[in-house]
Symmetry: C2
Subunit: 352 residues, 2 copies
Amino acid sequence: RKKYRIAVIPGDGIGKETTPEGLRVLDAAARRFGFDLELTHYDWSCETYAQTGRMMPEDGLEQLSRSDSVFLGAVGWPGVPDHVSLWGLLIPIRRGFDQYVSLRPCKLLPGSKSPLANRGPEDIDFYVVRENTEGEYSSVGGRMFPGTDREFVSQQSILTRIGCDRIMKYAFELAMTRKRKKLTSATKSNGITFTMPYWDERFAEMAKNYPEVTTDQFHIDILCAHFVQHPDWFDVVVGSNLFGDILSDLGPAVAGSIGIAASANINPEKTHPSMFEPVHGSAPDIAGKWVANPIGQIWSGAMMLEHLGEKAAADAIVQTIERMLAEGGPRTRDMGGQAGTVDVGKALAEAV
Amino acid sequence: RKKYRIAVIPGDGIGKETTPEGLRVLDAAARRFGFDLELTHYDWSCETYAQTGRMMPEDGLEQLSRSDSVFLGAVGWPGVPDHVSLWGLLIPIRRGFDQYVSLRPCKLLPGSKSPLANRGPEDIDFYVVRENTEGEYSSVGGRMFPGTDREFVSQQSILTRIGCDRIMKYAFELAMTRKRKKLTSATKSNGITFTMPYWDERFAEMAKNYPEVTTDQFHIDILCAHFVQHPDWFDVVVGSNLFGDILSDLGPAVAGSIGIAASANINPEKTHPSMFEPVHGSAPDIAGKWVANPIGQIWSGAMMLEHLGEKAAADAIVQTIERMLAEGGPRTRDMGGQAGTVDVGKALAEAV
Ligand SMILES: CC(C)[C@H](C(=O)O)[C@@H](O)C(=O)O
Ligand SMILES: CC(C)[C@H](C(=O)O)[C@@H](O)C(=O)O
């Protein structure tokens, strides 16, 4: 019987409410599909920061490295600046564990509603593959002539050959597993003329290894427009850290699933644990009311099981979510229902 | 009787077909509202490049500087790389003439169709104000260790105090002229931690001068999602060069007007000519067939008249476009009609 060690970090706000439901469904899947999950809970959060001055202990990454995966709720709370909360917990895990793939499904689930007119589940079903370690989110930059009229700030965007090639390889491999085998690259080489032409160059180079994959590329401005006008064009979309960030919010938005979208921060070589987290944040406005929708968390749990090698269990969870939505099972407020976080979690756990 | 000197650059592809229609309508407006337009035509384009090796003559900017405004069609053609065509004509004009404001209306016109469900003209009517000279489109960058595994490229994003303050001032002033007086700032200070926090800082500083303007700010990822989910939230949106570029394509896309969107590249102090161009490009696929929709060009002409001080004439053109669309006047293919470029231009010119 297989056993997986999971580090659980509920984090802040509704993360504390959705992770237990994620775990409830994971536990049901473990029992049904015959594997064990060994959980270690970490209370790292903005509260810890208030008490200790740190989002996580100094040896935080070392502690997490003993697990197979990290299951995260949400990070961030009003009053704690992002450079403390996000850069003290979320980003260090992504980078420290070289989780260079951020994978986010954009899927119109049956029974949920897209803001687009006349679009059904057959029209919106693609993945955004985002580079998760370099690019526009760099640590090189600074400010000059502070407080004067000549003041300026500068930040480098960095693309490395290693960074480009490995994310593109992942995206091509993913495209190969899909029925349409289509990969779209997000670029802006007409305006950003040092980094993005290089991105295009590496994309063209990698494409040579995958003659079966149909490729195209769009500048990010018109690509965003196409997401709205022709979401059916897309199968797998690969983008830099910033472009992938934008597209992986816009994709779920056009699919009407931004409140329930899931994401995986993957280290494909498994030299370090990967991390799974819903796309929604800590949602201070509804935190503490137990009305948050746990589906994003539960769906992230399914992505975790798939990464761990339990594909049947992962599929069962996703199918259960889809079936429950289609059949009008319990829904939280954001989906027009009256159910609480726990109701939805319990219903899904039972159905799995 | 006032006279304005207009430099006309049809450029490439459908630009050659839409500019004459733009001029036809401008001419009608000039006659009705009593001013003169003195046109100078420039054939600068990818064709010129093929013949002369340059997109425009060496003293191109000097020639244009004798005009009050530049009226541009489209730049770019297959076979001529962007760094030649765009960076040889479009970008040098924007930067050389310090057209630091790119202004783009996002408006659901009556009679045209948004891809969003249940959205009418009252829901989508805002402006994107884009910084047009610095930011992510910088000229500082390069490549190191070429051809090796250590290869990387780097490009700086630069925000200056002068650049931020003047674009924000323009945006606040524009917001002051609007009924809702609301200004949204596009940021990404949680991920891009040198430049974007500075953007936020300057925005907060400028806001102090405009207590009547309601402000908010969103990270670009969720802001793109909000454009799709809640376009009615927005009145004026200000963004950096890249974020403004993205939002000013996404905005017209959600309004269903991307094929007919207009844009102005403005030097507000009028120390240099401003430039007016449709958002669509040269459209090689339909160029030469005279089926291109000239409305974007004509609408850009209206923005030019407004900038020149002929507000009544500008309003008349925009209202005529709206009325003709609402009343089912002649339409080009992209709007489901059968009319040619010239038919639409003539109908609008007559109606004005
Ligand atoms: C062609 C390109 C360089 C340009 C830009 O990004 O500025 C275009 O997308 C635009 O928005 O005018
Ligand atoms: C919180 C922020 C730094 C983060 C990002 O941009 O990576 C978030 O938007 C995400 O997409 O996970």
